[in-house]
Every structure is written in structure tokens, then in C-alpha cells.
């Protein structure tokens, strides 16, 4: 009976998790991932023995023999597995929340942009982002300006000409029109 209940609980957690992940909102995405990891934890819990009132550890042989003659002892391993899984999913959920937050501050939107953008934009079926091409290479400009000016980590770079040292003008000059 209790195992049937557990099976239903695991199933509904997975189903609602999958439903939430398939929605467009990012908060729902996080909640869906969390629900799914709870589903797995419950499944691991059910993979142990669903019994009560029996010890997992025996001090002497005769007590053990007596116990298994009647019934099985409790199994402590799933709890350890669940604990590990909880810690891992906790860490990952924290990371996803930070990532979504960062993305929110960048794009000012909670939605994953996808369905409304033409799918074959610029020949890339998997790029659903609404960021322009220059955004994609932001980090390059960033590196050129910020890092390769300094010869301190690795010596040997030729110095920038003074006209291009100014970061703002360099960024302006880089407004290349993408074909």
C-alpha cells in the first residue's frame, strides 16, 4: 500500500516537474528541476525497504539471526544516497538560480526566447537568442581592451598604439556592420 502511494508520489513529481520545465518562464524551470530532483530522491527512498521499527545495525550475530528469521532488517544505504543527491541538487539549484538571475539582468525578461523567433535565423537552427551578433563577441572586445593591454601575466605583447588605448573609442570603432 505504502509503496503504491510512493509510486504515485514519484510519478506525479516527475510529471509536474516535466510540465514546469516545458513552460517558458525561467522560475518555472527552476521549480520544475527542483521537483524532478525530489522525485528522484523519493525513488531512491523507495529503493530501500519501506518498513518501520527495525534496526539496520546489529551488534551480535544471534540477534541478527533472530531478526532475519522473522523479517528483514532496515536498510540504511538509501538514506545516505538521498543525502548525497540532495546536497548535489541543492548546489546545482543554487547555481541555476544565479544563472537565471544573471540572465534576467542582462535581457530584462523572464522568458526563454524561442518560439516567436524564426527558427532558421542566420542558418543556425539552435540559436534562439535575441542577442545580436556583436553581443556574442563581447568577451573578445573585453579581453582585447582589458587584458592584453597588460604585459604582467605574460610578457611580450607589443603595446597598443595610443589612439586605441582609449577603451570607449575602441568600442565605438568596433561597431562593425555584420553582413
Amino acid at each position: 500500500m505504502i509503496s503504491l502511494l510512493l509510486a504515485f508520489a514519484v510519478g506525479s513529481l516527475f510529471a509536474s516537474g516535466a510540465y514546469l520545465i516545458l513552460r517558458r518562464g525561467q522560475i518555472k524551470l527552476i521549480l520544475g528541476l527542483a521537483l524532478m530532483s525530489h522525485g528522484v530522491n523519493l525513488l531512491l527512498f523507495g529503493s530501500g525497504r519501506l518498513i518501520e521499527g527495525r534496526p539496520p545495525i546489529f551488534v551480535n550475530k544471534s540477534e541478527y539471526a533472530q531478526t532475519i528469521a522473522w523479517n528483514l532488517p532496515a536498510d540504511p544505504l538509501p538514506q545516505a544516497l538521498i543525502l548525497t543527491a540532495i546536497v548535489i541538487s541543492f548546489g546545482i539549484t543554487a547555481f541555476v538560480i544565479v544563472l537565471v538571475n544573471r540572465r534576467h539582468t542582462v535581457t530584462q525578461s523572464d522568458f526563454v526566447h524561442g518560439e516567436l523567433v524564426p527558427l532558421l535565423r542566420e542558418g543556425d537552427p539552435f540559436d534562439f537568442s535575441n542577442s545580436s551578433e556583436t553581443d556574442q563577441y563581447d568577451w573578445l572586445a573585453y579581453e582585447v581592451d582589458e587584458v592584453y593591454d597588460s604585459d604582467e601575466i605574460l610578457p611580450g605583447l607589443p603595446p597598443l598604439p595610443p589612439s586605441e588605448r582609449d577603451e570607449s573609442t575602441a568600442m565605438e570603432e568596433d561597431q562593425y556592420q555584420w553582413p
Binding site: I21, M36, L43, R49, R103, D138, D145, P155
Partner: protein, 552 residues
């Protein structure tokens, strides 16, 4: 020289401890401290390479198997660390690839990313990858998967540019789903077989009911297959690999999907080799579709790194094809397919890393990797152009290089087992690879010199940086050439590794999960074979923990 099994701890623990040490001064790292981080990381990578070479010599060449029971707890109770030829081959390649990408990363990663912990993350990723190759039980495999995933999440998104966060979310979510599926498989294994130790699972799985076997195999196939980017599950890869700095892409392209491929090899050869025959049509269909989709998708991509990362998928299809015919063979020996897949894996890890690094150098020089807006680099960077060309024809499978040997051997076994369609598909995919490589070469190196960014790129003009970026590429290309020239000894070695991996009885005996408690499992297994529910067969599991306390 006899190696101690304790050496097995080094590939996972060494990078982990070094990374922990580096973390002490990562966050507030001034430039001197970052130089110390670089020195420590290089040291850890070198130690890792030495250990990997020693292990490779002992296992793949001399045919030994190493088992380390952590804390001397015997097999099903403690943590088992296991290495045979297959693990050691992958450890060696991982060590090579990570050591080769590192100078490139040092030369190209900016100060801000270094300050945010790029160097310790590099080592954490290595810890996860090495640990996954060495894990002897399913749950530790899951833990190491998570370690490498976590490190890869951060490496992918560090810097937090819009494109990176966009792709980061897709990468994170799809990989998390794959991990969840894998964890479900582990839970079902524990619930039905009462064990998580891989040797014990291999021992008990043939006695379990077919339903359990099918569900377990299917879940593992989905979980590992999605890590390996096989056909319907590859979408996370092309969505994300082009966004981080090129050094990170090179590392990911060399290592990450290969962990999935390794676990597929390991689980199919160890847990359910019979499915290699009964599922062969499915596996071959997936392999063919993976090859074709990877190559065709690459053809549609507009940038160098996008083309190269789409190509990874195509290559995974080749490896899966080798696995699918691992137990078949008419004139050729059983295991020829797996041997061919292993040598293909070696070739792929080496040359794909080299190619992504060379492409990354082009991109850093041009300020963009869009093929439409770059060109004519051959006049400015002839050495880079030469290296890129060599790597590209090796990937396409032109004779003196390793690509030829590996593709030829895969073709030999598929023709020998009369799988005409899939061998035709693989030839067509190779042709498309050639086409793609020609396209990359023509667009970025030939024609008039044009460069979209007007910020002068000085990254390839500095002598030291150029050496740091191009020397590892040259080394990897030379390795690929050596693998092609000494193709026969290399192939003999990989056949030996494949035979060792297919010998599941020897695996079980090496780990020997139940020798000390031989009285109980025999009874338990009778009960096990008749049940497939979630709660009933814990007969076996029941003996696990308590018996230990009696025996003391």
C-alpha cells in the same frame, strides 16, 4: 616494476587537492598569485600525465587490472575504484588533452576570468572526468558526473556574457535532466538488484527479470547517450559550445562527450553485452542518424567553432557504430568493432582538440569566427594555416593520419558484418566532413585578407603567446600523425584493450564483490530472479550491511 593500486587515487585526488589549494588564493588573486596558480595547475597536470602513462603501460600494454577498495572495505560495501585498459586509455588521453589545452588557455584566458577561478575549475573538471573513468560503482559514477558537470557549468558561463548565459541555461537544464535519468537508473538498480557496485550488478543482472534489464538498460542508454550527444539527445551541444572562450570549447570538445561514450562502452560491455546483439538494429540506426545529423548540421553552420562542435556529434555516431558491432564479426575477430571504436576515440580526442584550438586561434586573431566575414589568414599566419590544414585532413580521414586508420577499421568491421546501409552512411558522413573542412579552410585562410574587427589583434603577434597557442596544436597533430603511421601496433593495442573490456568475468573476479560472503547471495538470487517489483527483492540487499557486522 609492479604498480601499487593506490596509484589509482592520484588522477582523481591529485587535481582535486591542487584545486582546493589554489582556491585559497584564487579569489583575491593579484597577477603574481595567478602566476602561482598557473604553476600549480601545470604541476598537477604533469603529475596526472605521468600517472596516466604508468597506468596505461601496466593495464593496456601488460593486461593487468587494478582495483582499489578505499579504506580496505571489501567490494560491495566500500567504494571501489577500478582501472583496466579502457579506463587507462581514456585517462591517458584526458591527461594529454588537458595538458595540451592548458598553455592555450593560459595564453588566451583574460585576467578577470582567471581571477574568478578559471584555473581551479580546470582542475575540478579534470577531477570529475578522471573520477568517472575510474568509478567502480554507479553512485560514485553519478557523483563524479556531477563534479564534472558543475565545473563545466561554471567554465561555460564564467564571464557571464549574454550569449554565455543564454546557452548556459540550455546546457545546464538538458544535462541535469540526463543526470536525473541516470540517477533513476541507479535507484532502480539498487531497488531491484540490491547493489550499486558495478561488478555485482554485472553478476546479478543476468538473473534479473527481462523487464528490469530492459528498463535499466534503457535508462542508462538515455542518460549516458545524452551525455555523449547521440542522435535525438544532442541538442545541448550545438547550443552551447560556441559561446565560451575557445580554450574552454577545446577542453569540452576533447573531454566531455567522451565521458558519455566511455560510460556507454563500459555499461554495454559489462552489464548487458547480450543487448549488443538484440538491440543492434536500434544502435546502428541511432549511430547512422547521429553521424548524418552531425555532418549535415555542421554544413549549415556559419562559424568555425559551430561547425567544429556540430562535428563532435557526427564522430560520436562513428564510435557508437563501433560499439554496436562489438560482438559481431564473420571473418574478423569478436571485439574488432570495439577496438576500432577505441582507436577512433583516441583519434577523435586528439585531433578534435587540436582543430578547435587552431580554430580558436583564428577566431582570436580575427575577432570573429563568422566564415562570411573573415578570410585570407594564410598570408599572415602561415604556420597556423599549416597546422589547421593538417588537423582538418586528419579529421576527414586522409591516409597518413590517424583518421584513416580508425575510419578504415570501422568500415572493415561494418562491411564484414554486412551492415551495408550504415557503412554507406558512414562513408557519406566522411565525405561531408571533408566538405566541411574544405569549407572552413577556404573561408578562413584563402582569398583576400579581411578582418571584421578593427581593434588590432595582438594575440598572435606576441611571440610567447603564439608559441603557447600553437605548440600544443603542433604536438597533437604530430601525435595524430604518429598514431596513423604506427597504425598497426596502435590497433593491436586497442584490440587488446577491447578484449579486456569485453571480458566481463575477469572484471567481476578482479573486483570480487561477493567472495567473502558466498553463502547468502545464492539464496537471494533465486528470489531475485522471480521478482521485478520495487520492494520485494531486497532479499539480497538485506545481507549486505548487517553481515559485515557479524563477521567482525
Amino acid at each position: 616494476m609492479a604498480l601499487s593500486a593506490n596509484l589509482l587515487a592520484v588522477p582523481a585526488a591529485g587535481p582535486l587537492l591542487t584545486a582546493a589549494l589554489i582556491l585559497l588564493f584564487a579569489r583575491w588573486g593579484g597577477r603574481t598569485l595567478i602566476r602561482h596558480q598557473i604553476a600549480l595547475t601545470t604541476l598537477a597536470l604533469c603529475v596526472n600525465l605521468v600517472v596516466a602513462v604508468l597506468l596505461f603501460r601496466a593495464t593496456a600494454v601488460q593486461g593487468e587490472r587494478f582495483v582499489l577498495q578505499l579504506g580496505a572495505w571489501s567490494a560491495p560495501f566500500g567504494i571501489t575504484v577500478y582501472a583496466d585498459g579502457l579506463s587507462a586509455t581514456l585517462l591517458l588521453l584526458t591527461a594529454l588533452v588537458s595538458l595540451a589545452v592548458y598553455p592555450f588557455a593560459v595564453a588566451t584566458i583574460d585576467y578577470h576570468r582567471a581571477r574568478m577561478g578559471f584555473h581551479p575549475l580546470y582542475l575540478f573538471l579534470l577531477t570529475g572526468v578522471n573520477g568517472a573513468f575510474l568509478a567502480g560503482d554507479l553512485f560514485n559514477l553519478y557523483v563524479f558526473f556531477e563534479v564534472l558537470l558543475m565545473a563545466s557549468f561554471v567554465l561555460l558561463t564564467v564571464g557571464a556574457q549574454p550569449a554565455q548565459t543564454n546557452s548556459g541555461i540550455r546546457y545546464v537544464v538538458l544535462n541535469l535532466l540526463a543526470s536525473t535519468v541516470f540517477l533513476v537508473a541507479a535507484g532502480i538498480a539498487y531497488g531491484t538488484l540490491g547493489t550499486l557496485n558495478m561488478a555485482q550488478i554485472a553478476e546479478r543482472l543476468p538473473l534479473a527479470s527481462p523487464a528490469v534489464r530492459t528498463v535499466f538498460a534503457g535508462l542508462l542508454m538515455v542518460g549516458f547517450g545524452s551525455k555523449a550527444a547521440i542522435f535525438p539527445l544532442f541538442f545541448w551541444l550545438p547550443a552551447s559550445y560556441h559561446t565560451p572562450p575557445p580554450a574552454v570549447t577545446a577542453l569540452f570538445g576533447g573531454l566531455l562527450t567522451k565521458v558519455g561514450v566511455y560510460t556507454l562502452f563500459r555499461s554495454f560491455t559489462l552489464f548487458f553485452p547480450e543487448l549488443l546483439l538484440s538491440w543492434q538494429p536500434t544502435l546502428l540506426t541511432i549511430a547512422g542518424a547521429t553521424m548524418l545529423v552531425g555532418a549535415l548540421g555542421a554544413l549549415a553552420q556559419p562559424g568555425i567553432r559551430r561547425v567544429l562542435s556540430f562535428h563532435i556529434i557526427s564522430h560520436v555516431g562513428f564510435m557508437l557504430m563501433g560499439l554496436a558491432v562489438a560482438l559481431s564479426g564473420n571473418n574478423l575477430a569478436i571485439g574488432f568493432g570495439l577496438g576500432a571504436a577505441i582507436i577512433y576515440l583516441c583519434h577523435h580526442m586528439i585531433i578534435k582538440t587540436a582543430l578547435i584550438m587552431a580554430g580558436g586561434a583564428v577566431e582570436l586573431h580575427m575577432g570573429s569566427d563568422r566564415l562570411a566575414s573573415i578570410g585570407g589568414l594564410v598570408s599572415r599566419q602561415p604556420f597556423l594555416a599549416f597546422l589547421f590544414f593538417m588537423a582538418a585532413i586528419s579529421l576527414a580521414g586522409v591516409p597518413p593520419f590517424s583518421g584513416f586508420v580508425s575510419k578504415l577499421s570501422l568500415l572493415q568491421i561494418t562491411l564484414d558484418t554486412r551492415h551495408w546501409v550504415v557503412s554507406g552512411v558512414s562513408l557519406f558522413a566522411s565525405l561531408l566532413t571533408m566538405l566541411n573542412m574544405m569549407r572552413l579552410w577556404r573561408e578562413s585562410f584563402w582569398g583576400d585578407y579581411k578582418r571584421p574587427s578593427r581593434i588590432p589583434s595582438r594575440i598572435l603577434q606576441s611571440g610567447l603567446r603564439q608559441q603557447l597557442m600553437l605548440t600544443p596544436v603542433a604536438v597533437l597533430v604530430l601525435l595524430s600523425l604518429a598514431l596513423g603511421i604506427w597504425g598497426e601496433p596502435a590497433f593491436r593495442l586497442s584490440m587488446q584493450v577491447a578484449q579486456q573490456a569485453l571480458d566481463r568475468q575477469a572484471y567481476i573476479e578482479a573486483v570480487s564483490p561477493s567472495t567473502q560472503f558466498s553463502t547468502r547471495p545464492a539464496n537471494g538470487l533465486v528470489a531475485l530472479s522471480g521478482t521485478d517489483g520495487m520492494n520485494s527483492p531486497q532479499v539480497v540487499a538485506g545481507f549486505a550491511t548487517p553481515t559485515l557486522f557479524i563477521s567482525q
